[in-house]
Each structure stands twice: as C-alpha cells, then as structure tokens.
Symmetry: D3
C-alpha cells in the first residue's frame, strides 16, 4: 500500500517532519511518500494562503494519479485546503488532517478542544467543524499565537507555548482530549501528550491511519454524484495544462 502525504505548503523541512511522523505510524506493509507543491506559500496562516495552496494540492494529486501507484492521499494542513477538489480527481481516498483528527478525537472522548497556532486561523477550523458535523463536540478553539514556522525555527519556545495552552484546555474546558491544530506539530504529539496527560490527537498520523483503513477495506472516493471526476474542459493561461483532463488519468 502506497500512501502519499501532500504538504500543502512549500517548506521542505516541514514535509520531511510530517513524512517522518507518518512513517513512524505506518503499517509495515505501507509505503509512505511525501511531497509538496512546486509553488505556493511557505506556511498557511490565512484564507489567502489556503486558497493558493489548494492549487498545489490539486496538482500534487494529479501528479500522483499519473504516477499511477498511489492508494490514498493525505492533505497535511489543518485547514484541509482543496480537500473536496482533490477527492474529485481520484478514486483513491483523500483524507484531510483536520477531519482525521476530529473523527478520532470523538472516538476517545465526548468533547475536545483544539490548540492551534494563530488565533486568526480559528475561523477556518470553526467552518470545518460546522461542515463536518463536529461543532458541538469541540468546546473551544485555542491559539498559542505562534506563527507556523516558529515550530521549525523556535521549537522549544513553541513547544512551551503549546503545552501551556493545552494545559489550560485540560483544566478549564471540560474536555477529554485535545486536537493539535497544525500539521507542523506532528513531531511533538507524544511529548505534548506526556506533559498534558490527555489523549492528544494530531492529524497527520490520524489521517494516515484512516487512509490505510479505507484502502484495506477497498473503499474508494465515490464517483457517484458530487465527487465524480470533473468534466473535461478548457483551462486558460498558466493553468492550460489542466485542460481536457480525462479521468481516471492512469487508465
């Protein structure tokens, strides 16, 4: 089984860290590869960053489909950018790390809180909770107020801030579990969990396991109805290479 992690931002070190976190959790029979778009933001901290990154996500899925041996994809940014677009492009399962973390959190607790990087991205999580159905399972969205790349550049200070906020969530929110709201925290999960003493769910590994699960079960993204392959059509300008795609690409 081959699972492709797509880091929607273009910071290679973050791709590597998430690759490692995923590989660490993968079944022995699973091959995990990781990639990132050729073009896009180095971190995703706004709707704008997210919109740009969604193109990269779609293009990485198209690349993967042309490679032809990928069984599932993980979209490894907590806003799940381009998730439904990606699902349209392939029969393979595509899992977002936010949705993955939410799903698993509800299986080990009745209510959870999210601890994310910047407060301004809270609304993205809030919209996802609404769309996915988990609005009432999440008690609170908390921000450590650290830029995403501080997780790379100032890991110790970032870790400290995240743990502080997780402890507040544990003590004040009436929850049973914490969801980490950034793919860049993937490598810290075990340590945070140890400090906080609660189940701490991180999306990259959660998504990997859900992807493995779906592949094992032979479940593919539905091509009946609204996730069907996009109708072939013309794209103009720098996107003209997307014109007249005939799906499935690898057939």
């Amino acid at each position: 089984m081959h699972i492709r992690i797509i880091n929607p931002n273009t910071t290679a070190s973050m791709t590597a860290a998430m690759h490692q976190a995923a590989q660490h959790q993968a079944a022995t029979s699973t091959t995990v590869t990781a990639t990132q778009p050729d073009a896009g933001p180095v971190s995703i901290e706004s709707h704008f960053d997210e919109a740009i990154s969604a193109v990269g996500v779609a293009e990485e899925v198209l690349k993967g489909e042309r490679e032809g041996n990928i069984d599932a994809y993980v979209v490894a940014c907590f806003g799940d950018p381009g998730l439904l677009a990606a699902r349209e492009l392939t029969r393979a399962p595509v899992i977002g790390i936010a949705e993955a973390a939410f799903h698993l959190a509800t299986l080990v607790s009745t209510r959870f809180s999210i601890v994310t990087t910047l407060g301004r991205t809270g609304i993205i999580a809030e919209h996802l909770l609404e769309q996915y159905g988990f609005r009432h399972h999440c008690r609170r969205i908390r921000a450590a107020e650290i830029p995403v790349l501080d997780l790379e550049h100032h890991p110790d200070a970032a870790f400290k801030r995240i743990v502080e906020e997780c402890c507040r969530a544990r003590d004040e929110d009436g929850i049973g579990a914490i969801v980490l709201g950034c793919g860049g925290m993937a490598g810290l999960t075990a340590e945070i969990s140890r400090e906080v003493g609660l189940p701490v769910i991180e999306g990259v590994s959660a998504a990997l396991k859900l992807a493995e699960s779906l592949v094992s079960l032979g479940l593919h993204t539905s091509k009946h109805g609204d996730l069907d392959y996009p109708r072939p059509k013309a794209f103009t300008g720098t996107f003209s290479e997307l014109s007249n795609l005939h799906f499935p690409l690898t057939r």
Copy 2:
C-alpha cells in the same frame, strides 16, 4: 494487537459471521476474537432489546479487561448499545459499528443514506446521527423491512430486498455512499457493493480498522473527565458482582 468484537446479541452464528468479516479485514498482526453475552436477546430490533443488550456489552468488556490482553473493543450492533458505558470501563478504545460506518462514509462521499433492517429502528440511527454530528450528512434512513434474523434464515430473500433498497437510495437520494444499518449484513457488503456500484460501508470492518488505527497511534479512551472509570459502589441483587469494581481491573 488483540481486538475483541462484542456481538451484543446472543446469536452465535451472527457472532461467527461478524468475526469472519472482521478477520478478513484485519491486519496480519492483529488477532481478532469475538464474543457475545451469556444473556440477552437473540437479535436487537427495539430500544428494549438494546437496553438489555447493553448489560451484556458492559459485562463482555469487564471480562475482556480481566483477561487483560485486549487492545480495543468493537460493539457490533448498529445502535451502538452501551457504547459510552463500555468506554468508561476501560482505557482501551471502544468503537461502535454505527459510528464507525458514519465516520468512514463521510470520508468517501459528501452525503450518504442508511439501509437498515426494520423501519422501527430508524429512530435509533437518527438519534445517533444527531449525537455524533452527522445529521446533515445522512440524506435518508431506509428500511428493507426484514427482521434481523432473516439475514441468517432467509439470506437470499434478505439480500434481494437490501439490494433493492440500496438501488433506490442510489437513484433517488442524491448520495455518494450507502451505510448498511445492521451488523448482520457484514458478510454481504462486497456483493451488495458490486450490485449497487457505490461505496457501501459496513460497520464491523469499519470499526475494526478504526480500532486498529487508534491502537497503532497509542490513543486510548480518555480517562480525564466524563469517560473516567466509574466510581466504585455497591450494586444489588443479580448485579452484585459489579459492586466495588476498582479500575483498571487488570492492574
């Protein structure tokens, strides 16, 4: 990894069928065992049946905890009877087959329908959809109007009725996937899926994979807050053996 399937009803042939379905999907490194309560209804088709069966579910978890080598439990009846009670009794993950099927259905489609056995159990599914957050992801709950045990006794007629209803769901409901609303349908999934041409999600195998996922990730049922072990106390009469349980039982 050792996963225990608990069939909440007491029909051994159904336990065996679900055991087989689960084993068929389990990772090679996973041991799957299956069990059923000593006492309870032979099938679960009402709130009453479900209430009685929840006791059996709890007792099977207690047995499992005393065995001491079980990593996760699956509650294998579509109403998820006794699920939260079971979670209180153990640090191991406990997954219901209804929740498992709902979760996976939302990962491969935007909207799904449920095809269940008897119409009267639809309200049970409806309440679960509300509690879990999937009310708007489920377009319709459909019933084949066959008693649960007909799946054992009249499999061909039952299969035909289920496929008919699945086809109606596919053609009329505006969905991308179908959730099978009874553990007893576990063995039929592949064949139904072939007839209907949609992703068909069945809860036993779905729950098995979610259980494997949580165990792999080291995620346990939260003991912080409302799923903490029950406080030890006296139980009277035929339930006196439940008195003063000190958790974790195996420590």
Copy 3:
C-alpha cells in the same frame, strides 16, 4: 389514577424520598406508588451505572404491566435511563424526570441552567438536551461536585453546595429558572427555591404532573411506529424470562 414512580437506583431511602415528594404534589384522586429494581446500582453517576439501571427500569415496567392497574410511569433518575425502552413496553405514558424538568422550565423562563451532582454526568444531560431539542434553552450545566448519596448521608453540606451553585447560576448565567439535576434533590426543591429566589424545577414532581396530565387527556404512548411493542423473541441466560413476551402483557 395510579402513577408508578420507578427509582432506577436501588437505594430504598431515595425511593421513599421521591415517593413522598411525588405524593405531596399528586392530585387527591391520584394514587402514587414507588418502586425500585431488585438489582442494580445504589446510585447512578456514570453511563455504566445508567446502562445497568435501564434493565431495572424495564423490569419494573413489566412488573407494573402485569399488575395491570398502572396508568403512567415516572422514570426517576435525571439521565432518563431506559426511557424509550420503557415506552415500548406499555401503552401507558412513561415520563423521565430530566425531560419533565426541561419541558416545564421552558414554560416559565426563556433560558435555564442545570445544577447537578457530579460534573462527569453533565455529558448525559447534554446529550438529553440535544435529543429533546432544548440545547439552546439551557445556558449552562453546573455541578455541585457531590456524590449522589451525599444527598442522603450529608444532606446539610450537600444542600449548602447546591444552593451556592444555584446562586452562581442565577447571578452569572443570564437565566430565569434552574433545573435540579438529580432525583435525590426532590425533597429540597422548595427550600432551594426560597434561598435562590428563582423558579427551581425538580423532575420528580414535574414528571408526576405531566403523567397525570397525559392520563387525564387519554393520551397514551403511541403504538404506531417506532415505540410499538417489541417483537416477541428469544432472550437467553439470565434474561430468558423476557422471551416471547406478548404485549400488551395484561390483555
């Protein structure tokens, strides 16, 4: 008119206290009897306790049906354990004390808070609020953090804690009424209300009056659709006495 209070736990003194509270409120033409299961937990403070107690509730309804002269039942534990199962077993109305308190609270105020015993049971109330439709009418669920039986064993300290929490609810929550979240508080209602100066709604008496109301109106539990009598079937083991019940039992 004969109304049967079923205390889902097995503490006789609590049954007696709730019996007295109900009798105090009953119409002169109403006979109130009270009972408790032969087997089960002495108090209900978890999903596990609740699951076990639901069996006792069902069995007490079956007993009542065999007696043949009971016009309505009250399930007198704030989690409404086994309520829908109980409704299936009889044409008589069956009222839970949580639902009763919620209904009446919305008739005398626009928003209410709940003051319950242990924080861990808050999630049970929360799920009921969702299922019944009152999520937005309840501003907050507060816990006095006293075990249920302290209401019996340390009544003064318990009363003090409850009043404190009620006063906080009154002053901080923006509410018009308080719902007491435990049947064991039934005897304290008048006194609490006096201390707090708000309408304080307690479920046992609330349920009694709703039961009287339904009986007076000739309204019975619907036997059309999903609350119909359970289909007769085999039960095994210690539950074999439940096999092949033909409803209504008293016909």
Copy 4:
C-alpha cells in the same frame, strides 16, 4: 384553582367551544373561565391577524390580573400570539396551545406531524418549532386548506378534510402522533383520534393540563431576567391606558 382561557380571536362561539373542551378536561377542583378580546380579528390566519390579536391577549391578561384571582392563563391560538408579552405581565404561568401540544406530543411519540388549517400559516408553526426546540421532532406540517371559521360553519366537511390529512400523515410521515394545528379543532380531537388510530394532541386541553401542573407545583413565570414585569412607561393615543402600569397589578 382558576385558569383563564384567552381566545385571541373574537369569535364567541369558538371561545365557547374551547371553554367547553377545556372544562371537560379540567380537574374537578379547577375553575375554567374563558374570554376573548373586545377588539380584533374573528379568526387568525396570517401574521397580520396574529399581530393584532396579540394586543387583545395582553389586554385580557391585564384584565385578569386586575381581577386578581387567576392562577394561570392559556393563550388559545395555535400561533401562540403574544405569549412572551403575556408572560411579562404576570407571575402566573401562561401557556400557549402550540407549545403545549408540541411538548405533550414528544412525550408519547418520537416524531409527530402537524395538521393545520391553511398552508400559509405553516410558517408560523415552523418558526415556533424552531424557537421551542422541536424542529426535528416534527416531520411535516400539513394543511387541510380550510379557513378557520369553516370549523364553525361547515364542521362536517372540515372534519372530513382534517381526517383525510391526518390519515396521510399517519401513513406517509413516519410518525407516532399528530398535533392539531388550530384551537378551533379542540372539540374534534376525540373523534379524529378514533378515526386515525394515533395519539392526536390538541393544544387547548394540553395547555390546560400544563397550566394546572405548574400551578400545583407552585411554579410561576420567572420574574428574574427577561420575563420580568415591563418597566412602567408612557403609552400614547388609544394605548394610553397602558401607561405607567405598576406590576404586579393586583398587589
């Protein structure tokens, strides 16, 4: 105990019919009186009719308060016109017949449908269901498409149409009970129920019993917070008599 039925429309024969229906259901110790505004619409079939009638409701409550011996009020039009305004004017409980019917319907069934007079009033019921929390308990709002006064002038034809629609609700909606969506149907409840074979809930008698219940329990409309007595102030023109009311009026 003295309960005052306020018919928000000005058709005396309808007041009499509802009075009779209420009296028929009242406890022997309950005195039921009925009244109607001096001014207002002869029937209520639109938001406009309802807005005008709310003034009459408020004035009737003020009259009642000046009489000084009324223990509870029933607002006997299915749109519950002026209900929250009425509650502000008195410590006595005030019950609307729509809310009353909804509450009781959820106690004897899991899901209900409404059968009302004109389709155009469906939106009024829909808004009430949302506000009260019962949106998901009501499967469908059906209209017999008969003007309200036809219940008085063409009772047989009206009865026939209502029963037809109730039967459709029973057969098509997946429900356990029917709520009659007009106070004018109060006298027909028993007969409709007999024809349809389901619990049929009518609001006037439902509200009467809820009012009796609250009075028995000593529960009054909360004067803490948003249902407190209105602040005394000037009213101009034909409403100048409402100026500087000091509540409670009867003290």
Copy 5:
C-alpha cells in the same frame, strides 16, 4: 424612490433622529420620509412593548399603502416588531433594522457581537438570530444597561457606556464587527466606530440601503405563499377599521 421609515415607538424626537440618519445615507434620488404610530409605547424594551408597537407598525404600513407612492418600508426598532405582518400588507419590500444589521455584519466580518441597551431585550435579539439563521455568526449579546430614552435624555453618559461595552466586545469576543442593538443609536454610529476602530453596523441606515437595493432590483415582497396578502375578514371593536381590507389597497 420613496422609502418610509416607521419608528415603532411614539417618541417623535427619535423618529426625527432616525429620519436624519437615514436621509444622510440615502441616494440622492431617494426620498425618505419617517413616521411613527399614533398610539403605542414611547420606547420598546420588552416583549409587551413590542407586541403593542407591532399594531402601530401595521397601521403605518396600511397608511403608507393608501398614500400609494411608497416603494419600501423600514421597521426601525431592533426587535423587528411586526415585520412579517407588515410584509403581508404590501408588495413593497419591508426591512427590519435588526435583520439589516445582521446581514451587513456578516458581509464585512466572520463573527460579530451585538451591543444593545437593556439586558432583558437580549432574548429578543437571540430569537431573531435563530429565526434569521445568524445564531453562530453572533458571538455575544452585550447590554450597556441603559434605558432606550437615555439615548435622548442623557446622550453623553449613554454614549460613554456604549463605547465601553463595544471596546469590551472588540477585546474579548473574537469578533470583527459590532452591531448596535437599538435604532436610537443611529446618530452615534460614526462616532462609536471611530472610538472602537471596528466596523460598527447600525440598522436604520443598513435597512435603508437594503430597501433601496431591493427597489432598484425590482424585487418585491413575495405574494406567493405565506407572505400573501391577508384574507379579508371581520375585525371587531377598536380594530373594526381593519375589516375586509382588500389588497393591494391602492389598486
């Protein structure tokens, strides 16, 4: 284009202030007139005040319809009293200032808070948010706890209190915009906005622009379905002038 502002209370100075605020914002081609009921409360601070004022609103719309040259109406009290009734009486658009402010607030921010006069009116706003669909867009309803007429009589103190509360909303609520919860604040908007540094939305001008928009677009209040003209019928007593209205009045 002729837009009529209806002040539902009877304080002429407030009508004048709102008229001025509206005129200030109107297109040059728009004529704005303002009126107030002949009879009713001098301010609206309760459900009771609101119920009385709704009659005045309806009567002002009827007057406007008889004048025959009015293109749209604004109901200028934050509870939107009588809004749906008013819509029934005319094909012209009718806009409430609460709804107008909510709509525009969601166009410039993802989440907003309301700052209103008295805390007791918060429930009115809450019910409107629910009915209109904006419950989750509003983070908090805050009250400056000043009576409405203090906006006229003690403008400086009132302004200070409102700004204080707006600043708290800005700093504590996680919002992007503030909705002013009283028509009487219309004249203060610019100044408050300057103090607070956030988009501050006030309903009178918001409603004016929405009304202009609908008229420009040729959109009228739907007469198909539940906002159709009321059926002509008899009204009694002081409301007898409303009898047998045939709509449209001006045709």
Copy 6:
C-alpha cells in the same frame, strides 16, 4: 463609486454578460468594471474548477488593489470561490453572488429554492447555506442539468429548462422566491421572473447592490481579527510574485 465585478471563470462573453447585467442595475453614480482571471477554467462546475478559480479571484483583487481606485468587489460565481481569501486582501467590501442572492431572498420571502445548472454543484450551495446560516431558509436545491456554457451556446434550450425547473419549485416546494444558482443566468432574470411569477433573485445584481450599500455606508471589510491582511511571507515557484506582500497594497 467604482465596483469591480470579478468573473472567476475565464469566458469573456460571460464576463461581458454579467458586466451588462450589473451595469443595468448600478446607480448612475457607480462605475462598474468587469474582469476575469488570466488563467483558469472556462466554467466552474466542480470543487476542482472552483479551487483553481479562487487563485484567479485573489489575483484579480490584488490587481484591483494596485489600481487603487476600487471601492468594492463582486465575486461572480455562485460558489463564492475564494471569497474569504479575497476579503483578507483588501479593506474594500467583497461580496459573493451566492451569499448576496441568499440574503436578498430572505428579505422578500420566508423560504426559497435554488435552481442551478448541474446537480453535482448542489453540494457547493449546500455547504454555503450551512456556513452562511440559511440552511433552513432554502427548501430545495434543484438542477436544470445543463452545463454552464450551454447558457452561452444554447440559450433558448437552457432558458426553457431553467423555467421548467423554476415552475416546479414554485408549485411543489412551498416557497416564496427562487434563487438562480449561476452567474451565467444574470441576463435571464427578468424574463424568468415574468414566466414564473415569483420574485427571482440573481446574484450578480444582488451583489452589486449590496456592494453599493456597504460603500455608501462607509463599511469596509474588518481588519480586526480573522479577516485581517495576510501576514507577509515567502511564496515559491510560479506564485513567487505573491511573496512579501505588504498591505494595504496601494497605501
């Protein structure tokens, strides 16, 4: 006032048609310009098309900001692609045509239906309804099942299909208004409305008027909180021109 219509697809004839529709409705003092991305899909009929088009929307807003004289933007595709991203890039109001149509529809009716092009895009509208709060105001999403460009290439057949579906909505859905679910229908609105006899709301003109309204009122996109300008950062590859943008661009 200068309002810029951004057609998110790259079909110039559709840009022109929407430009014309907008200009037709604009105030005389409003300058309307229209544009389309240099690169992207010729029509938007899937999540994938939408994801690609969002980049074009963002780039067109950046262009507009550099031009420096644009007062508001309209995103003229019914899925509102890139709307929140666009809002981050500017203080000017940015209005989506789906949201605009929904808002105005609720002002002239209590319930509406949507008639869109392809059924597969219904889920996009459904997600927007949920996010914006209008889920319960929309009775049904209907599709004429015509590709978007058929509106250009086969206008007569497309018109006929749309009118047919609108008539069904009018006759079957219990609605008061219809929302047209594609910017490409902008030119047909008046004619459709005439055929159907209901208020028909089309988003381009609706958004134009809302944009004019916000500009008139001096309301800008909030820069406090989650719609603040994106943090400057590096973008790589073909998106490198987006690196280190300092907002506001034109200052």
